[in-house]
């Protein structure tokens, strides 16, 4: 998969690859620190730390 752009992990500052198939709202894992990151916007790319799981989260 080609890389659209590289963005900065909001937790560790590492590189997060944004491939062309990534969509807004997608949850990604940072390869460097393992944090779960949410793609808030794509133009421009804006990443945020994903919400912490709450007590009633699950499947």
């Amino acid at each position: 998969m080609s890389v659209l752009t590289v963005a900065e992990c909001p937790v560790c500052g590492g590189d997060v690859e944004i491939t062309p198939d990534v969509i807004v709202g997608e949850l990604l894992d940072c390869d460097d620190c393992g944090s779960e990151i949410e793609v808030r916007t794509l133009t421009p790319v804006r990443l945020e730390v994903a919400p912490t799981p709450a007590e009633d989260w699950g499947e």
Partner: protein, 303 residues
């Protein structure tokens, strides 16, 4: 009420409500795209509105796939949408049952589905007595919760007493009731069976070096052939909770297969490659059959 419900001559509208886009939601979006159907993804954090009307920021739809991470958010959204004419998968009553371990157990018992014995207690002393009657080791779980969180194994009375004391001290809704089950020694393996539209379509075994076998905690998934026994128990469990898209967790015991839990917002990211079954595609076909039923389009029904 969604004004366009029941109209013919257009594609059915299907909405997916979730909390962010996990691999499962991404696979579902792709499965619908392959069928030339737009799956309208909505983030539950954007939804608001008066309860007397269809929620804002949610397109009017024949079918809504309810996949919020939060149990209570999912149930509330499903109730709201149902009140305004939507078919929600899974419906609110299914989500309520599956999201509450005691309710699930009661539903399974009520329909004669083989399941683990389970007890509930509401205080420290009653919890100790429940544990004494159940025997050790046992497993404590919050009534609402998932992914193996806050689940503990008590090997003896002292360990149970400590856990109950901590629950009492921490307080809050997860600790309002204690759900206890006997610990079943399965060699660190359980089975997850996926049931769609009443049919068991795939299954995996989850292997772990830890007694908890949640893949969220690192358990390894391998494909498991679906035989008659597994299909029968998994489909009976799905029917007991009235769920059309559920994942049934089971233990293989000397007494046969026993249902442990039924999940109403199933995760399957580790189960497509491992089983070779196109789970999101089958889900999409099932949902489209429901949607077309609502529109009278006569699309193929899922068997």
């Amino acid at each position: 009420m969604a004004g366009s419900h029941g109209q013919q001559g257009r594609d059915p509208v299907v909405v997916l409500i979730s909390t962010g886009i996990r691999p499962e939601e991404k696979m579902l979006i792709e499965a619908f795209r392959r069928r030339d159907i737009a799956l309208h993804a909505v983030d539950d954090r954007q939804v608001h509105g008066t309860l007397s009307a269809w929620p804002q920021n949610v397109p009017h739809a024949e079918v809504v796939l309810a996949r919020s991470k939060s149990h209570w958010r999912n149930v509330t959204l499903a109730r709201w949408l149902e009140a305004h004419g939507a078919r929600v998968v899974n419906p609110s009553r299914v989500l309520e049952t599956c999201g509450d371990k005691a309710a699930t157990t009661l539903a399974l018992i009520g329909e004669g589905v083989p399941t683990l014995s389970a007890s509930v207690a509401f205080g420290r002393e009653s919890g100790l007595e429940a544990g004494r009657q159940l025997g050790f080791p046992l497993v404590l779980k919050p009534v609402v919760g998932s992914w193996g969180r806050l689940i503990g194994k008590a090997n003896d009375r002292d360990a149970l007493e400590l856990a109950l004391e901590h629950k009492e001290a921490v307080g809050g809704s997860p600790h309002a009731a204690t759900y206890l089950q006997p610990f079943i020694e399965t060699g660190g393996m359980d089975i997850r069976a996926f049931v769609v539209g009443g049919r068991c379509i795939a299954a995996i075994e989850r292997h772990s070096t830890h007694w908890r076998t949640n893949t969220a905690l690192g358990a390894r998934a391998v494909g498991r052939p679906v035989d008659e026994d597994l299909a029968a128990v998994a489909e009976a469990a799905a029917a007991a909770v009235a769920g059309s898209l559920v994942a049934v967790d089971l233990f293989e015991t000397p007494h046969g297969l026993l249902v442990n839990e039924v999940n109403g917002t199933m995760e399957f990211r580790n189960s497509v490659e491992t089983t070779g079954v196109n789970i999101p595609g089958i889900v999409a076909d099932h949902v489209m059959a429901m949607a077309s039923d609502g529109l009278g389009l006569g699309l193929p029904q899922v068997s």
